[in-house]
Symmetry: C2
Subunit: 157 residues, 2 copies
Amino acid sequence: MRWNELDQEPCSIARTLSVIGDRWTMLILREIFFRHRRFEEMQGALNITRPVLAQRLRKLVSDGVLRKVAYQSQPARYEYRLTDKGAALSPVMMALMHWGDTQMLPPGTERAVKLRHCSCNTQFDPVMTCSACHEPLAPRAVRMERRATAQPGLTQP
Amino acid sequence: MRWNELDQEPCSIARTLSVIGDRWTMLILREIFFRHRRFEEMQGALNITRPVLAQRLRKLVSDGVLRKVAYQSQPARYEYRLTDKGAALSPVMMALMHWGDTQMLPPGTERAVKLRHCSCNTQFDPVMTCSACHEPLAPRAVRMERRATAQPGLTQP
DNA sequence: TGCGTCAGTTTAGAAAATAAACTAACGTCA
DNA sequence: TGACGTTAGTTTATTTTCTAAACTGACGCA
């Protein structure tokens, strides 16, 4: 399978990865979540090459994750902001961050980034819970079940 | 920045992406979450090229996300299973899936994959909540705050 | 002996990323 | 007026990575 065929997959994980699953996109979005919204700002912070940054921003805009907002004219200059669709990625971002904090950090190391919940104004950890029973989801307490119908390219003999 | 320098970053998102942030790794892990654990099984289901699959599995094992478990000898054959560190990625997987379900699916389309919570035996949606107030986290209700200390390569004037 | 299965490796060509320089539109300073 | 700086890219040449297809090797089966 070629990467650009991925958005045709019936699986939501595949479709999501067709948007954010490459080497740089989530890091670009991290910068946006940090409110670094401009090209030079992101380029300097990430040390990403310019052609890749330009191409990724273009794709994120065309995928509806970011939108360009003019912050000056003459010359026209735009910054990149999250759409609602992009803001909806925050659970993904938090989950990535929390895994790094708990699984990749040498014990005793302080975390580089903290999360603050605006409505209760507290530092917190993100906890994934079950919409039915509202309990936290233990790592092996979840089964992913494929629908019975044919799923070309994904089924298994 | 080269991709292989990413695991040196102080940011947990960057460190996580150094493990799972490339084009194929999360799809391979999806197969493992679906309990497709063997090379041929994954290769057929994903239509990934064999050299890439072999290299990614090798890296996931060396990163401690998967482990090889013998399922026969003569010839020795191994399958790939999640370690605890790997199983801890399930919130990431669920978050990716939920974003795809809610943001990428044409309205009215049925979801290809459902989640079942073993302890309450119900189909559910994953809900990210605040560890402090236990409320669901609204998309824009979270602030990511960088620690004040110097973070080479990440700070911003 | 020959075929089939599984888990890869090898090789050649295509695609993508990197690094460094370049472009373009403007604003400022002198 | 002209040189320089800022911002947001694009261009070009080189390096790296990925793809596709074939090949390897250990065994089981008939």
